[in-house]
């Protein structure tokens, strides 16, 4: 019971849900990269993810729960942290001792949350409507075309790229920080932090590349 109420438990929840979402990002970016290099494989992988009952009815709800837990806990922590300093400083030089990204996780997180709303509208709601509301026939070849078409408007491509920049900033602090929260700080920490920072740049960069690539290479026929 003490674990549930404690401030450290909230750190564990943020860290574990964040790490879970990081592993999902690896899967997501891998499949999405296929849309650039192998549309056939992208269609196969997307069809599998879209129709496999384990993915749809077990892994997908777990993923959505992970997202909800992460952002709800983020809001709870932000509210509690604001209460812990009820009277603020007249002059506060936060930049003197901590990087901007670490002090503004709530803002990068809010942008990512807003992006998730757009992303769900673009792909997930469309997918649910296609399969379960409109009850369209199964078409394993539609995913590549649908994805590329989404990036035809410049506004959507720009919004996605800006969101990936914020995702990068969020991961820059959050990924390495999650291991500290779980109590891991040892001789491997420096190496792991380097890996986390590379990850925080490479993965969002890959997502941005995919969006820009499809915008610049529309399906013309």
């Amino acid at each position: 019971m003490s674990l549930i109420k404690s401030s450290l438990a909230r750190k564990y929840v943020m860290a574990l849900s964040g790490l879970f979402l990081v592993t999902f990002l690896i899967l997501h970016v891998t499949i999405n990269l296929a849309s650039v290099f192998s549309p056939d494989f992208f269609n196969e992988a997307s069809h599998f993810m879209g129709y496999n009952p384990i993915v749809q009815f077990l892994m997908q709800p777990i993923l959505i729960a992970g997202v909800i837990v992460h952002f709800v806990m983020g809001f709870v922590l932000e509210i509690q942290n604001n209460k812990a300093r009820d009277i603020g400083y007249v002059k506060y030089n936060g930049g003197a001792n901590a990087p901007w990204v670490s002090r503004n996780m709530i803002y990068s997180g809010l942008v990512i949350l807003a992006f998730l709303g757009l992303h769900f509208y673009d792909f997930w709601i469309h997918e649910m409507a296609y399969k379960y509301v409109e009850a369209n026939p199964v078409d394993p070849t539609r995913y590549y075309h649908e994805t590329v078409e989404k990036f035809e408007p410049i506004w959507r491509t720009v919004l996605y790229v800006v969101s990936f920049v914020l995702l990068s900033l969020h991961l820059w602090h959050g990924f390495a920080s999650s291991f500290q929260s779980m109590g891991a700080n040892n001789k491997y920490t420096a190496g792991f932090k380097k890996f986390a920072k590379i990850f925080a740049v490479v993965v969002p960069l890959a997502f941005a590349f995919i969006a820009i690539y499809h915008h610049l290479n529309p399906i013309t026929q």
């Binding site: 001792n97 901590a98 500290q180």
Partner: protein, 248 residues
């Protein structure tokens, strides 16, 4: 040098405070920050005005009594020093210096720049001790072999003077660095193992009860700590707490 001071003045805990402007001339670079405030106070007293109240004791950087948020940083712009060891040579002629009390709900202002840091005492009392028979048959600590690395780490953690700069620096007013240092200095030593499970749980519980914020690993506390207490202590406390809670 001539300085323009903006100092938080507050009559008592229940009266709202405000920033008051002062101009102070004749400040020497070799003066400590507190000596500079002494001169200001002598000036105020000679004019029949109320002096600025601030905490201080040893003025040697070892007691943890002095505090002050100076230009937005606890203990000012220098590193690894307390306010009493901060020298005015760190400032320039004509500078404006904003001086405020450490801010946290758990550190309420008593008067002017003095805050009540007894929340730290209560965290310490909740578990920052070991039970040793001191009635004449105390066992010499050196009879128990301890490896050098652990002894050094424990000593590093024990150098925390409990000044509260970690809380003041943290954007969340978190006391994790202080609490983790106090947990670590015992967790690393064999003498601390007897009460290890209860210690970390009780100290964290008290820390939460006092109303400190949550740690978000910004690292500001480590940078501003006058004793260089490391974030590794927070990771150790997180491990200790998880392990203690899972043990039940």
């Amino acid at each position: 040098m001539k300085l323009y001071l903006k100092i938080w003045r507050q009559k008592d805990a229940s009266t709202p405070g405000k920033i008051v402007d002062y101009t102070l001339d004749g400040v020497e670079g070799d003066m400590s920050f507190l000596e500079m405030l002494d001169i200001l106070n002598e000036d105020l007293i000679s004019k029949g005005e109320e002096p600025v109240e601030f905490d201080h004791d040893c003025r040697e950087g070892i007691c943890g009594t002095c505090s002050l948020q100076i230009n937005g940083e606890p203990h000012g712009p220098d590193r690894l020093v307390t306010t009493c060891q901060l020298h005015m040579r760190k400032f320039n002629d004509g500078d404006t210096i904003v001086i405020e009390p450490f801010r946290a709900k758990a550190f309420p202002v008593i008067k002017d720049l003095i805050v009540d840091r007894s929340a730290f005492d209560r965290i310490q009392q909740a578990g920052g001790y070991i039970s040793v028979n001191t009635s004449g048959n105390t066992i010499d600590a050196n009879t128990i072999p301890i490896n050098k690395y652990d002894a050094d780490e424990a000593m590093d953690a024990a150098t925390c003077i409990g000044c509260g700069a970690c809380v003041a620096a943290c954007k969340n007013a978190s006391a994790m660095l202080f609490t983790s240092a106090k947990v670590s200095q015992f967790a690393l030593l064999p003498q601390g193992q007897v009460e290890a499970t209860e210690r970390v749980q009780n100290m964290v519980r008290q820390m939460d009860l006092e109303g400190f914020g949550n740690c978000t690993n910004t690292g500001a506390c480590e940078v501003e700590c006058p004793k260089g207490i490391s974030l590794t202590n927070i990771a150790r406390m997180n491990r200790e707490y998880l392990s203690a809670t899972l043990k039940g």
